[in-house]
């Protein structure tokens, strides 16, 4: 449950995320019945709280403090407005193709937001945090147009991950191919966040999810259909891929600029670099911020 509140001490408006009170310890929770029993502070929120506490950047949501009394957890963070997913769905079709002037506005705003998306990711990577759940829903827009990264439930602190990590990360539509293809314990790192950021970018421009698969294999098919089936998969992904991949249809890469109508050449170029199959060739957040797409003055036009 999320509620808005105001601090009596500082007058600061904050958002409280109240996590459901866990079942009481005494009574019916016997030793056999571990599944429903109280495990203390839930793992996912423990990570979220600890990692957000470690961050300090204008494009990352600030977690002010956490309270934990008698099984009731409350996360107090700064107040930010709606998320990017809601922003996108609040725009009518008109904004994305039909009306030229409105479309231009969407394109400008897309660039403005994308820069902040990358700044937030760049910061997290620079302090060693892997986000693993970058998507429009996890970016909040504050009243002054600042984008704040949130959703650290799946994030983890991982510098040079030698140990394999879990596969159960990143919302399917934004999941990088190396996680889908990596088996039960794939090894991956920062580039997975860039892939997701690329998908977010395209979604802000077109108003539609870039790859919307209904299963892991379906997701892979959607990706290959647009970007082309890699001819030599082992080379494209830098690790051994499951053999079923050879049975997939051989698609030729489609034109990204057609799919992202209206986006300038620099924008298309940046996106194509964010969606490269090989994680090492994929552009980093740092380099993406230096890309020509972001050069020059792009302050927002008054509307």
């Amino acid at each position: 449950m999320v509620v808005k509140c105001e601090s009596r001490v500082s007058g600061k408006v904050m958002v409280v995320k109240r996590i459901k009170k866990m079942p009481s310890v005494s009574g019916d929770a016997s030793d056999e019945d571990e599944a429903g029993a109280d495990q203390g502070f839930p793992v996912r929120y423990l990570r979220e709280a600890c990692l957000l506490r470690a961050c300090n950047h204008p494009n990352v949501m600030k977690l002010e403090f956490v309270t934990y009394h008698e099984g009731q957890i409350e996360l107090f963070s700064e107040f930010v407005g709606l998320n990017v997913e809601d922003y996108i769905s609040s725009l009518s079709d008109e904004y994305f193709t039909r009306n030229k002037q409105k479309h231009e506005w969407v394109l400008q705003l897309g660039r403005y937001f994308m820069k902040q998306v990358l700044k937030g990711i760049d910061y997290c990577h620079s302090i060693g945090i892997l986000l693993r759940d970058v998507k429009p829903r996890n970016f909040l827009i504050s009243s002054d147009g600042t984008l704040k990264l949130t959703g650290f439930v799946l994030a983890r602190f991982s510098l040079l991950p030698e140990e394999p990590l879990t596969q159960q990360v990143v919302t399917l539509s934004y999941r990088a191919p190396e996680i889908i293809l990596g088996g039960t314990y794939p090894v991956y790192t920062a580039p997975v966040d860039i892939w997701s950021a690329g998908c977010t970018f395209a979604e802000m421009i077109t108003g539609r999810t870039l790859f919307e698969g209904d299963s892991e294999i379906g997701q892979l098919l959607k990706i290959f259909k647009l970007l082309g089936t890699p001819s030599d998969c082992n080379k494209s992904f830098c690790f051994e891929v499951p053999s079923y991949i050879e049975l997939l249809p051989q698609w030729q890469p489609q034109s990204l600029s057609e799919r992202l109508e209206g986006l300038c050449d620099e924008g298309v170029d940046l996106l194509s670099r964010m969606l490269l199959y090989h994680p090492c060739s994929r552009i980093t957040a740092r380099d993406a911020l230096k890309h020509p797409y972001f050069q020059g003055d792009h302050s927002l036009m008054k509307t």
Binding site: L46, C50, S126, L160, T184, T189, A190, R286
Partner: protein
């Protein structure tokens, strides 16, 4: 999912993986480590904190840590978890007086918090109750978790000796055997 045929269930990360990982974050490595160094000085427990404790001493701490190492082995946890456990334990003992009856509780809960933070599949509360031979109840463990987290103010993203070890080992072009040896010495 349903499309798992012909795929190995588990695949050990190969050297290829290692190279890929290094390449993938090279740009950030220096920054990550300088950040860690800063945090290390900021969040390290004071060396002489034991003098403020009345009921426990260094020797008890050593016995507790030996026991934690055993538990850590038994649960087959990651190295990082152990280092973080000791960090949590020391930082908590530096700010809170603990009597000797409850020292083991603090230790086991430090391990529980560290495991939750580091592991993919952390042990369950009942495992900790069992490992302490029912000396502490589930309720006590959960209560202590609450106390420790509040005292440390949820600052668990801390560098441990191991974070630096990996880096130094790479710089020295050591292989995994060297890493294991140093891990043991630490």
């Amino acid at each position: 999912g349903q499309v798992r045929e012909g795929e190995e269930v588990e695949r050990a990360p190969s050297d290829e993986h290692g190279r890929y990982n290094e390449m993938a974050v090279t740009e950030y490595v220096d920054e990550i480590y300088s950040n860690l160094r800063m945090k290390e000085t900021e969040l390290a427990p004071p060396v002489n904190y034991m003098t403020q404790q009345d009921d426990i001493n260094e020797k008890m701490r050593a016995i507790l840590i030996d026991w934690l190492v055993e538990v850590h082995l038994k649960f087959k946890l990651r190295h990082e978890t152990l280092f973080l456990t000791v960090n949590i334990l020391d930082r908590f003992l530096a700010v809170q007086k603990v009597n000797r009856q409850r020292l083991q509780l603090v230790g086991v809960v430090s391990l529980m918090i560290a495991a939750k933070y580091e592991e993919i599949y952390p042990p369950e509360v009942r495992d900790y109750v069992y490992i302490c031979d029912n000396a502490y109840s589930r309720e006590q463990i959960i209560q202590m978790e609450q106390t420790i987290l509040a005292k440390l103010n949820f600052r668990l993203t801390v560098p441990t000796p191991r974070s630096f070890l990996k880096r130094f080992c790479k710089a020295a072009q050591g292989d995994s055997r060297l890493l294991l040896l140093i891990s043991y010495l630490l």
